[in-house]
Structures are given as structure tokens and as C-alpha cells.
Amino acid sequence: MNWTFALFLAAVLAGACAAPYVVGPYTVEILIIFMINLILVCSYRIPAMTGDWTLSHVVMMGVGAYTTALISQHLELSILLTIPLSAVVAGIVGYIIVLPMIRTRGFGFFIASFAIGEFVRLTWVKFRDVFGGPRGMIGIPNGELFGIDLFFATPYYFFVLVIVVICLTVMYRLDKSRIGSTFVAIYKDEELAEAIGINVPHYRALAFATGTFFAGIAGALLAHRLGAVDPKNFDINTMVYLIIWIVVGGSATFWGPIIGLIVMTFAFEWSRPLLEWRPLLFGGVLIFFLVFLPGGLESLWGKIRDRFGSRGGGNAATTSAPAGE
């Protein structure tokens, strides 16, 4: 990590700490949701590093949210316990559902994750007594920490900020770690990865479960904030929005999904006056990027660098664009 980068991070963090005192309460709520989405979008990239793009990630976020709802309904636990518990449950559910999916790859995996995710989501609709059926569950407490009621936006904002910083640090380390390289090796050449001793199914399952673990954290944070969970919030439509963030930003580096989320959050807020026409805009954006800029916004950086000045040895491109077959 060089100095300019460290300075930049410090500036972002300082800005994030000052933000709730500068912007209005509505913007603080948006920033809370943005930070939760930040965990979601970064965690999506973990299985994608091995080449496994999924359509069940939002459902796994839902597993975290429903776990939080169930815990708060039946046990009175601190928010400091519900969040890790929800994450662990989401991680375990993720590990279980990925075992049959591991037999498929690429497009087959994508479709299988769609179907199995839908199965999980339908259990919430089906078992009314446990999960509240089509209307979901309500009455999830906002939580309390050291005597501070997290119902108010500003304390909850800082609570989420701390968790986001922890999660992103961990995921960043993962990206740069040996195990991160192993994931990418699987994406690059599965057969070669096996030949050099990488147990491919094991590591694909591990990457998937790690991704769902963090999605579970995002879900728990969301459930505590909204005070309710609804099966409709975790359907394929929401999933497509997640895909849009990733596609717009790119998935080759750790920063791609973050860029995509920032840009699309602005786009989402600015396009509020469009009302019902908004999905059309987002659908158009998705098509535009997949057709004309498949590497996402992050790939522009490389293109600019290529044009002005030389390129070093570069381990730049890890996962570029959605994994092909």
C-alpha cells in the first residue's frame, strides 16, 4: 500500500465520519443502505473470482435477514450477536446449497443457483407460521449498543460504518491473499489448477460459502434497519440490480464492484423523477455495458493507462467480464 492510497483511504474515512453531520437525515438513510450494499456487492465477487457467477446471492442476504428476524422473535440477543449468528447461518446454508451446484459450471451454475435460490425463498412464503408467509416478518428491533438506541439514523450509521470497514478490510485481504490467488487460478484454468494440486470443488464451495457469509451480514444489517423482512425484497428483480452494479463497475479487481455501486447509487437517486420508467433505464444500462464495455468502468482505467504511458509487468486482469464457458 503506497502513501497516496493510504491518504486517499484516510480522506474517505474522514468524509464518512463527517457525513451524518453535514447531509440531511434522508441522505443518511441512503448512505446506510449504500454501505450495506457495499458489503453485498463486494461479497458477490468472492465466488466470482473462481468463475462462479450466482443468481442466489440476494436470497443468501435474505437468509441473514430472516435469521436476524427469527432470533429477535424468539431470543433477546444483542445486535453484536445476531449479526455474526446470521452470517454463520447464511454461510452454512450457502455451503449446503452449493454442494449440488458444484457439479455445474458457468451458465449451468448460474441457472442452478437461480432455481435453488428460488427454492430457499419459496420456503419463506410457504411456511407461514415460521417465516410469516408472503407478508414476511415485522417487529425486528433496531438494536441497542452500549445503551445507545440504534433506532436513530446517526448511531446506526456509525455502527454500520464500523462493520463495513471490518468486512471490506477482511475481503480486501482475502483478495490479496494466497487463497485469493488460488480462487483466481481456478477461474483461469480449472484443469491446470487441479494438476497443480488445487482441490477445485473444495475451493469453489469455500469461495461460495465465504461470499454468502458476508451476504448474511448485509442481510442482518438490513433487517435491523428496516425492522421487517419481506420475501419480495429478495427476489430475482433485486438480484438483477446487484448484477447491474457488478457489470457496470467490473469484477476484475476488488474496486470494480465498488465503483459500480457508487455510480449506480447516484444514478438511482437522480432518476427518481422517472418513477416507473426507471427499470427501463437500468435495463438499458445493463445491455449497454455488456455489449459495449464488458470489462465495466474499471477497465477504462487500464485503457487510459495503455494509451498514455507504458504498462508494467502487471497482474492486472484477474477476472475479466462475466465468466464464459
Binding site: T104, A115, L290
Partner: protein, 289 residues
């Protein structure tokens, strides 16, 4: 379950199976030719239903004419999708699939803004009355679906096996490289495949318009079922898609009758998971070397 209910459920299963078959065969065909995976296939179905709504319910055309109008309308949609989405993303299946998810958004918004989002559009039933078999009553409109689906699938089979363009399409699905060397124009074939795929989805939607709630979001329930069928059948296998469609038609209808629609969906998904584990290449799929 008494005899009348059993018969009724049996008949409904065949109706559901026929519709699934027509929808899924279109999806499997597009996937077979250059791996075009269309997420907006359900929205093609929806546009077919709206075509009938516009020409039959609003403009007062005869019902069969309105149904036939769905062919050019949705086939054109298919061709445009091929040209502007699948062709530029050809080397990447997932990219085309995701991009058509964007197309699904666009079609939902357009249709919703033109004809309204709120209440479902009501399409009057053109063929009233019901067939009475041993106490089981099946509406004529439903009965009509079965021969219509059979005619469509037979026409498709004839086209693929006895018409030059159809044979070229099959050759292209089996081995695009060899087909290209034999002078078959791949771009024309992918376009043709998407036209047929769209026409089939549109026809299915058109036939279902009087008995299915017509809303901009009606494609949602269709797409998951269609993909379950195609994955179970073996992705590119048309025969596999038909077999899986009939199986799933029975599973869905019987489970819905015994339990409820959500359980039926869950059982359908579970069937697919089992097929993926036991036989990842699908019921009639081939193992790729």
C-alpha cells in the same frame, strides 16, 4: 381424490405440459444454436399475450387471427434481440443472458406504461362452454391448447427435418464450425433460431391470454419454469425439453391440486436439483467430450 378430480387434474396436467413444452422448446432451440440463453423469454410470452389483448380484445379481430399476429410480432422481437444483444455477446453465454435480463426490464416497463400496470387486462374467453367427461369439466379454451401445441411442435419438427433452412439450423446447432465451412451463414441461422424461439413463446402467450391473468409481469412465473424444463431436458435437446415439460406439467398440476402452487414450484425446483446431481447433462442431453 375422486375420479372427477383425478380426470380434471390429469387433463389440466396435459394442458400445462403442452404450454411448458412450446415455451421450453423455443428456449432450448435458441440455446442449441450458438448458446443464446434468453432471460427475456418469459417477457416474449407476455408480449404474445398482449398481442391478443390488443388485436382481439381491443380491436375486435377474430381470436385465431389475433393469435397468429403474435407470430410476426414476437418473431421480430426475437430477431432484434439476436442482432443487438446476442450477436455482440456471442463468445460469452452469461453476458447475453444478463443483457436479456435488462431487456426483460425494458419490455415490462414499456408494456406497463402503454397499457397500464395496475389491474390485469381482461381478455374475454372466445370459446365458452366446457367439455364434460365423467363429471370432470374442462373449459374448451383449455382443451384447445393441446391440439394447438401439438400442431406447433409437429410443424417445428417438419421444418427441422424436411425443410432446407431447418436442416441447416440443425447442422449449425450440432457443429457451428463445420456448418460454417459448408457455407451456412451463421448469423442468418442465429437470427432464424431467435425468430422461431420468439414465435413459439409468443404463440404460447397468445393462446394463454384468455385463461391466464395478463399483466406486464406475467413472464416472471414462466421463466423459472421454462429454465427448469430446459435444464432437466438437457439444455439443447428439443425432445428432452418436451419430455421434461410434460413431466413438470404433471408434477406442478398434481402438487398444486393436492397442496398449493408454492409447494408445486418448490417440488419443480427440487426435481431440477435432483437431475443436476444425478445426471448433470439432463434427461436426454449428451455428454460433451
Amino acid at each position: 381424490m375422486d375420479l372427477a378430480t383425478l380426470l380434471q387434474t390429469f387433463a389440466n396436467s396435459i394442458v400445462a405440459g403442452s404450454v411448458y413444452a412450446v415455451i421450453a422448446v423455443g428456449l432450448a432451440m435458441a440455446f442449441g444454436v450458438m448458446k443464446m440463453a434468453n432471460f427475456a423469454h418469459g417477457e416474449f410470452f407476455m408480449v404474445g399475450a398482449y398481442t391478443v389483448y390488443v388485436f382481439y380484445a381491443l380491436m375486435g379481430w377474430p381470436f385465431p387471427a389475433a393469435v397468429l399476429m403474435a407470430i410476426p410480432v414476437v418473431a421480430l422481437l426475437g430477431v432484434l434481440t439476436e442482432r443487438f444483444i446476442f450477436r455482440p455477446t456471442r463468445e460469452n453465454v452469461l453476458a447475453g443472458f444478463m443483457a436479456t435480463a435488462g431487456l426483460a426490464f425494458i419490455l415490462q416497463v414499456l408494456v406497463g406504461q402503454i397499457w397500464g400496470v395496475g389491474l390485469m387486462r381482461s381478455v374475454p374467453t372466445p370459446y365458452m362452454g366446457a367439455m364434460d367427461v365423467a363429471g370432470a369439466r374442462i373449459g374448451w379454451q383449455r382443451v384447445l391448447v393441446i391440439p394447438s401445441a401439438a400442431v406447433m411442435l409437429l410443424a417445428l419438427w417438419y421444418f427441422l427435418h424436411h425443410v432446407k433452412a431447418g436442416k441447416a439450423l440443425r447442422a449449425c446447432a450440432q457443429d457451428p464450425e463445420t456448418a460454417r465451412l459448408q457455407g451456412i451463414n451463421i448469423n442468418r441461422m442465429t437470427m432464424l433460431a431467435m425468430a422461431i424461439s420468439g414465435a413459439l413463446a409468443g404463440l404460447a402467450g397468445a393462446l394463454m391470454a384468455p385463461i391466464h391473468p395478463v399483466t406486464p409481469y406475467m413472464g416472471h412465473s414462466v421463466i423459472l419454469t421454462a429454465f427448469i424444463v430446459v435444464v432437466m431436458g438437457g439444455m439443447e435437446s428439443i425432445a428432452g425439453a418436451i419430455l421434461a415439460a410434460i413431466l413438470l406439467g404433471f408434477v406442478h398440476t398434481f402438487v398444486t391440486t393436492i397442496s398449493d402452487a408454492i409447494t408445486a414450484q418448490m417440488v419443480g425446483v427440487a426435481c431440477m436439483a435432483v437431475v443436476l446431481i444425478v445426471r448433470p447433462q439432463g434427461l436426454l442431453g449428451r455428454v460433451k467430450a
